[in-house]
């Protein structure tokens, strides 16, 4: 009897355990870590070399897994140009290394997708590579009266009395840096404001003229001991919303149907008026007006490019993640995503609601504001930074614009794993670049 009880007990116990075991095998727990390393530094290849990646895969699953790794190469507007699969076998808590080689491609920006389809795991790792980016050529849509339009705009700005007001801000000043709030009148007599930061000791400071990103309110920059820094809030931004104060979400749609009234007409002129301030008041505030660098990121990148192109008093220009570069291509790439990316989604929504304002008319208007139509005028040293994973500013558009520079004093840095941001290495290099371009000591 006892023996039967023991046997029955064992059977019951096993019956209890078996469902749990079966459940565990049907839905095992774990993670797969995939580390991708580009064969070339910063994922930039030439059009003569293969595109190579090394994938290190580690499984924490307590079960074996089998399946395949498929790697696809697509253009940046999602056309598949190459695909290949290899089999994958991972042991319990196993690891493996896979070497990917894709034949050389024509100059351009490409998406590389690594898809793992295993017994209990499916995931896709997405990367972007640039192939001979300096050979990327994009179409130019320069209006015939582009130069005349901007020349007249500058003449009109010159008729507006700037009425500069500079007030020391004791609360934000430190013993090492004096901070001033600056006010002036710009295009259409609209008041705009900015912050000037100048080291307390020394004089003749080279100037970093920093222009704002989209809806980013500017602050004084007091962490650059080798420079005076002037940060400008263009109209509708930060401190400059007295008269022009659009809904932040609709900033770049303000008067979008009218070339002359479009918000960026005034914004670009604000940037020139800010430079006028530096030149007019430089000596009073210890600035070296023969050494001024225009700088910005995202929208600020466009503003820096336009300022350097329209005003020869700028002596260097650096920008990262240039928004609006090559709007024709950027619009096409932005709207090709499963969900249209910003800022093209705003423009697309607007065009859907305002059918009479066609895409063609919209892009024709934007041709007067596209930074790629300004950039060839820049003759000073240029540094560009781009994130290869950037979906707001397609890298192909950034390179297409960069390749229209006619100065040979140009260079770029790529952050291969970044989207709409740059990495620490870039900003360290940019600081040295500022010092070199503005002749500040190391």
């Amino acid at each position: 009897m006892l023996r039967i009880s023991i046997i029955l007990g064992a059977i019951l116990a096993f019956a209890g355990i078996s469902p749990a075991l079966a459940q565990e095998e049907a839905d095992p727990k774990g993670e797969i870590f995939i580390d991708t390393k580009s064969g070339n530094k910063n994922a930039v290849y030439t059009d003569q070399s293969s595109i190579t990646y090394k994938l290190a895969v580690k499984s924490t699953y307590n079960v074996k897994q089998e399946g395949k790794l498929t790697y696809d190469l697509l253009t940046d507007d999602w056309k598949k140009v190459y695909t290949k699969s290899v089999s994958v076998r991972l042991g319990k808590k196993g690891s493996g290394t896979y070497h990917v080689r894709i034949p050389h491609q024509a100059a351009g920006v490409y998406r590389v997708h690594f898809s793992f389809n295993l017994t209990y795991y499916d995931d896709t790792v997405k990367r972007v590579v640039a192939v001979s980016p300096e050979k990327i050529k994009t179409e130019s849509f320069m209006p015939a009266d582009f130069s005349e339009f901007w020349s007249k705009s500058k003449d009109q700005l010159a008729k507006v009395a700037p009425d500069y007001k500079v007030t020391e801000d004791n609360k934000q000043s430190t013993k090492d840096v004096t901070v001033y709030k600056v006010e002036m009148r710009s295009w259409n007599n609209v008041p705009i404001r900015g912050w000037l930061s100048v080291p307390t000791e020394g004089k003749n400071w080279p100037v970093i003229y920093k222009l704002p990103g989209y809806n980013i309110a500017m602050k004084p920059e007091i962490d650059k001991p080798d420079f005076a820094v002037f940060t400008l809030d263009v109209r509708g931004n930060g401190m400059s919303r007295d008269i022009v104060a659009p809904d932040p979400d609709r900033y770049n749609l303000t008067n979008v149907e009218n070339r002359d009234l479009y918000i960026y007409h005034g914004v670009y002129m604000d940037c020139l008026r800010g430079l006028d301030f530096i030149m007019a008041k430089g000596a009073d505030y210890k600035m070296n007006t023969s050494r001024v660098c225009a700088y910005g990121g995202s929208q600020g990148a466009t503003l820096a490019i336009v300022t350097a192109a329209l005003d020869k008093r700028i002596t260097a220009c650096t920008f990262e993640l240039p928004l609006y570069a090559d709007m024709h291509d950027a619009y096409r790439i932005g709207t090709s995503f499963p969900k249209t990316t910003w800022p093209m989604n705003r423009f697309q929504e607007y065009l859907k609601l305002h059918r009479t304002y066609t895409q063609q008319r919209f892009l024709s208007m934007w041709d007067y504001y596209d930074p790629q139509n300004f950039i060839s005028r820049i003759k000073v040293p240029v540094l560009m930074g781009i994130g290869l994973l950037d979906e707001f500013c397609p890298p192909r558009c950034s390179f297409g614009m960069y390749n229209k520079l006619t100065t040979d004093q140009k260079e770029y840095v790529v952050a291969p794993d970044k989207a709409h941001e740059m990495n620490f290495d870039y900003f360290m290099f940019q600081l040295l670049w500022f010092k070199e371009s503005l002749r500040a000591p190391n």
Binding site: P199, G202, K435, E436, R439, P441, N442
Partner: protein, 277 residues
């Protein structure tokens, strides 16, 4: 013999002070650096050939004053051109005998420094080659401001951030004087320093360095009595610097020899300004 030891060590100290001003950090393209310096060195005792301390005796004293000029030009982002020259006045008394004071130009140096690698622009590995040329003639004038022969030096330098805001400069190299007696020398130094405030207006550093000299022929000739062929010294210094602006800094340094063989025991100070433009 004592005079020879006293003078030779000072010469070696001078060369190391002048060329170590800027360490391994690249000067940077389009930028320049100019460093005038004043050095005072005094010595009485020495270490003999066995490394034993020898008292110079009552009245023995060697003094030297030197004005040095060092300049560097950033030829490219990685390549710097460096040069130095000095004017020295020295006097000796051995016991009751006072030797005539001598004044004149010492060794000039001309070199190139190349940045081989960097780590996130915070640490740098560079190589430097320097030619050492005497601006005096020992044979004709009897001046003993140096070895009096052409020399060359090659060294590796590692410099950059240590921990937090502190920094390190580590150098090691080989120097040779082109005389049948050489000598061949190993030169080395380690500097560790830190700014004392967040804006790096003030900084403090210590360094230890030295020269180890060897020659196939240890005979000292009457023509070049100041040449030391076989011996070494280790010197330590404490340095303080103040940055007035990002272009102008002033440094003061006190130094002393810590150990040696066939070398003088001496100490002194250096004041130098750094002007970057």
């Amino acid at each position: 013999m004592k005079k020879t030891y006293l003078l030779s060590v000072f010469t070696l100290l001078m060369i190391s002070c002048v060329t170590r001003v800027y360490a391994g950090w690249p000067i940077g393209k389009y930028r320049h650096i100019f460093t005038p310096s004043f050095t005072y060195y005094t010595s009485k005792n020495q270490w003999d050939r066995q490394g034993k301390k020898v008292d110079g005796g009552s009245g023995t004293r060697f003094n030297a004053y030197s004005i040095g000029l060092f300049g560097g030009v950033g030829l490219s982002r990685r390549l710097d051109l460096l040069a130095s020259i000095n004017l020295t006045s020295q006097s000796s008394r051995i016991g009751s005998d006072k030797l005539p004071a001598t004044t004149g130009l010492g060794d000039a140096t001309l070199g190139l420094s190349y940045n081989l690698a960097h780590w996130k622009y915070k640490r740098f590995l560079s190589v430097q080659g320097t030619v050492i040329a005497p601006l005096y003639t020992v044979k004709n004038t009897g001046n003993t401001f140096g070895y009096g022969v052409l020399g060359a030096e090659g060294k590796l330098m590692y410099s950059g951030q240590l921990v937090g805001m502190s920094y390190i400069n580590l150098e090691g190299g080989f120097r040779r004087y082109f005389d049948e007696k050489g000598p061949n020398q190993i030169v080395y130094s380690l500097t560790v320093g830190s700014p004392l405030d967040s804006r790096k207006k003030n900084q403090l550093s210590v360094d230890v360095g030295g020269v180890s000299s060897k020659s196939a022929n240890e005979t000292i000739t009457p023509v070049n009595p100041n040449l030391v062929y076989d011996g070494y010294y280790i010197k330590g210094s404490l340095n303080y610097g103040h940055k007035f602006t990002n272009k102008v800094s002033l440094f003061g340094s006190v130094f002393t020899t810590l150990a040696g063989r066939n070398a003088a025991q001496g100490s002194g100070f250096v004041i130098f300004g750094i002007y970057k433009f």
